[in-house]
Amino acid sequence: MSKHDSDGSGHNPARRQALSCLASWTGAAVVWTVAGGVPYALGATGSGTPAAAAPDALTFVQISDTHIGFRKPANPDIVGSLRRAIAEINALPQAPAFVVHTGDVSHLSKPEEFGQAREILQELRVDRVHTVPGEHDTIDEGVTGYLKYFDHDGNGKAWYSFDQGGVHFVGLNNVLNFKAGTLAALGDEQLAWMKTDLARVSSSTPVVVLGHIPLWTIWEPWGWGTADSAQAMALLRPFGSVTVLNGHIHQVLQKVEGNIALHTAMSLAYPLPTPGEAGIGEPGPVTVPAGELGKLLGTRQLSLVRGSHELALIDKPLAG
């Protein structure tokens, strides 16, 4: 199958059909699409009549960095922000297949934070919520505390895979295995598992990878990268369509490497500064004027059409 649009313009009918329903509910959100691993913005959406998604499209929603337990001026009501996002997800004209949470579920890895998060996430009217751990979820006892609440496959690991809608999903833990003074890493055991897991997947199967910290180095002085991401990329390179969904940096950034498109998502808790921003030497919470916060928090909806390499992304701020 061609990985590129027939005319290279990105405006083929199939994707337009897949996107039309997504555009309808997003208000002023920006619609992103990915063709052959090349993401680009289709433009800001307007209001419109909800249309049906392509019947074979798989749609799911990404949320990230809820930081349950955070109580600082940057967002005094993170539970309210999460509930607002949940209400919007539950109100989607077509229910997503599931929701993925790309880490930092909690702020301080406390059992009560995990418990509250799990309880609130159950308000989502979807079959499942797939999570991966963030570094805030592994503070005191590694991944053990997190797994008491979010051990998805019962294997006692924070990494897993599943297949749904013709797509192979891989959840990773890239917040441990660090050495002093370096970035966190996936580690040899997980990379070996990933190699075995991907060996049974055909290269024509779209692959979606979930991981908290970006799998490319965005800004090393702030730890915004994964030390052994190159080894993971090598395992993913044979596939025709790979989409990597990350959190951690609380803002939308994208990178493309061949057929691999990497995306970070907004947080549902608080904004972080732009990497390398002049005058800001550390990645601490940014307090913005009242009324601005909702524009910097948000969710992402993704849609994949079966038999296609194309993936549509919509990043939706909580408040336009």
């Binding site: 890895s109 805030h136 503070i139 370096t182 702030w222 730890g223 550390e282 990645p283």
Partner: protein
């Protein structure tokens, strides 16, 4: 060995039997003296803007080091040799550790492993 996480707690001083010795001045640090009957010295390390400040300290055996997290982001104080480790420190949380043995103790924040510090303990 003695360490504990305290929240906004006052410092606890404890008598330590130590020889009166000036300690290493390799980094031209102010001299701390611990006398046979006096309280152990306490050295403060601030955590601010994702940096341990001072990043490197030199102390005498028996000195208590108190770290205070001034950031809105949680940090830990975790030694490379696992001889001491704090829980996650929220804003204004403190962690203290008394260094009884000589040596060089490198440590990091496990949430942000790019944050590093070292404690040199010298007689």
């Amino acid at each position: 060995m003695n360490y504990a996480v305290t929240r906004n707690a006052g410092h606890r001083f404890r008598a330590r039997a130590l020889l009166a010795l000036a300690f290493c001045a390799a980094f031209a640090t102010p001299a701390f003296f611990a006398t046979a009957a006096g309280p152990a010295s306490t050295v403060e390390v601030k955590i601010a803007k994702f940096v341990f400040e001072p990043k490197e300290i030199t102390i005498a055996p028996g000195t208590r080091v108190v770290w205070t997290n001034g950031d809105e982001t949680p940090h830990t104080v975790t030694s490379n040799d696992k001889s001491f480790a704090s829980k996650g420190l929220d804003t204004d949380d403190k962690f203290e550790h008394v260094f009884s043995k000589e040596g060089d103790f490198g440590y990091i924040c496990t949430v942000h492993p790019f944050m590093t510090g070292v404690v040199h303990v010298r007689k």
